[in-house]
């Protein structure tokens, strides 16, 4: 217990890195995932193919593989990012594939009648998406997006294995230095459980407010 109390600032710093990574990567994934989802349902064949390829590649590549590739592989091709940037970019690109699939299934839940009505009053494809489909899709997606948020929060721990000092990284360091596993791992586990729990509660609250009663 003493180790945890004596190193609260370090653990807090690690927690902060984890939270920053989570928020930045999730925000990036939302934007990128929406773009890829629009590609996937667009009328243009090359964009559809690109969207499909993106999803298939990033859903099937292991996250750690992606992080290692960005952090240690790409510098050989002259693309050098900081560890934090590598982790954010990798995590965001990985989660974007899942966001895209969530949005796509959200779009599926919208009645064809809605879209037909929108087209009948003369809206273009872009306008249909912007004013009719996506606003409704996003409201029905609180739960799946919340699950992705939690997955991102847990996934950021992998950045510890490329050397970033996030919550997991700090825990590992404290263990190597002091060998008091029970207290340090319990502290880290509590932090992660709190993040997951608050993510779940937040999702529930957003879902109740955004839900469309049919």
């Amino acid at each position: 217990m003493g180790v945890v109390l004596a190193h609260l600032p370090e653990i807090g710093g690690g927690l902060l890195v984890t939270l920053e990574l989570t928020v930045l990567a999730f925000a990036g994934a939302l934007v990128l995932g929406t773009i890829v989802a629009v590609f996937r349902i667009s009328p243009l064949p090359p964009l559809r193919a690109l969207g499909l390829a993106y999803v298939e590649v990033f859903r099937n590549i292991p996250l750690l593989m992606l992080l290692v590739l960005i952090a240690f592989g790409l510098p050989e091709a002259g693309l050098k990012l900081s560890l934090f940037a590598s982790a954010t970019v990798g995590m965001g690109m990985y989660a974007a594939a899942y966001v895209c699939e969530a949005i796509r299934s959200g779009v599926q839940t919208i009645g064809a009648g809605q879209v037909e009505a929108a087209r009948a009053i003369g809206l273009t494809f872009g306008q249909v998406l912007r004013h009719v489909v996506l606003p409704q899709a996003f409201r029905s997606m609180a739960q799946p997006l919340g699950n992705i948020f939690i997955a991102v929060a847990l996934g950021t721990s992998l950045s510890a294995s490329i050397g970033l000092m996030d919550l997991t990284g700090v825990t590992r360091l404290l263990n190597v230095a002091y060998a008091e596993p029970i207290a340090t791992f319990a502290a880290a586990a509590v932090c992660y459980v709190l993040i997951t729990l608050s993510g779940g509660l937040l999702t529930g609250a957003v879902e109740r407010r955004a839900r469309i009663l049919r």
């Binding site: 292991p62 847990l154 992998l158 294995s161």
Partner: protein, 266 residues
């Protein structure tokens, strides 16, 4: 999945516009791809000797051995996590409160703790406590413990998704709760769950890359060793990434196939 209702069947003008936009998009994509290739070329990553090595038998044998390591870890972890997950799901659905609470606690805890933290427990905490676990089991046990909780939730969702009438009918012809579960609910739930279980196996396979952390020679760890040995990191990682994508795509296709077959029967 069909999203064709989002836009009209194109008329002559729209078809022309679509063709123009298609050409423009393709050109833009080709330009991006060409830029990426040019960047790689400028740093000498496209030189033939960087890639030729992967067609030689020793390197191929090394990578196949690594693939075997990945598959072994995934199979053993899956073989442990699947049955235990099923039992845990039943425990969470049990009518005995203590059993239910214990199962819920296990599932919620291990779904909320990142797998890497669990790996560090096996890597750092247990040796400190004097328990030495071989590298293979450091990876496999951590992955199984985590995925047991995930599989349990998949199973539970499947059991709950089954029509209540099935259980009620089973109970009304005089089966006990256990018999109803064993003879009626579980066989049907398992069949419905086959696609989600296969998708979950993909996740499990991806998680075996954490062997990188414990130095278990699976694909990613072997790629690191090979890449650092030959000074050829980027091509090695790209080859391994492609290998992962091919294997997982095959599994995903299997899941789709099972899903389709299920709908054909229903």
């Amino acid at each position: 999945m069909d999203t064709a209702f989002l836009f009209d069947a194109p008329g002559p003008r729209a078809a022309r516009r679509t063709r123009v936009a298609t050409v423009a998009c393709s050109a833009a994509l080709a330009a991006v791809a060409a830029f990426a290739v040019w960047r790689l070329g400028a740093h000498g990553e496209l030189a033939a000797d960087h890639w030729a090595a992967f067609t030689t038998w020793p390197i191929m044998r090394y990578l196949l051995t690594a693939l075997l390591g990945t598959v072994q870890a995934a199979l053993v972890a899956g073989a442990l996590a699947l049955p235990v997950g099923a039992v845990l799901a039943l425990a969470r659905l049990s009518r005995l409160r203590p059993i239910r609470l214990a199962a819920t606690g296990y599932i919620e805890l291990f779904r909320a703790v990142p797998l890497l933290l669990l790996i560090y427990v096996f890597l750092l905490a247990l040796p400190a406590a004097g328990v030495r676990v071989p590298v293979f089991w450091q990876l496999v046990l951590a992955v199984s413990i985590h995925h047991t909780a995930v599989f349990a939730e998949v199973f539970r969702a499947g059991v709950l998704a089954l029509d209540r009438g099935q259980t009620e009918a089973a109970l009304s012809i005089g089966l006990t709760h256990g018999q109803a579960m064993r003879l009626v609910v579980i066989p049907q739930a398992l069949r419905n769950l086959a696609p989600s279980l296969v998708s979950q196996v993909v996740t499990l396979l991806k998680d075996t890359t954490l062997g990188y952390v414990v130095s278990y020679p699976e694909l990613l760890e072997s790629a690191r060793v090979l890449g650092e040995y030959t000074g050829n990191l980027l091509p090695t990682y790209l080859v391994i990434a492609a290998l992962f994508i091919v294997v997982n795509l095959a599994l995903t296709r299997l899941a789709h196939h099972l899903e389709k077959r299920r709908h054909a029967h229903a």
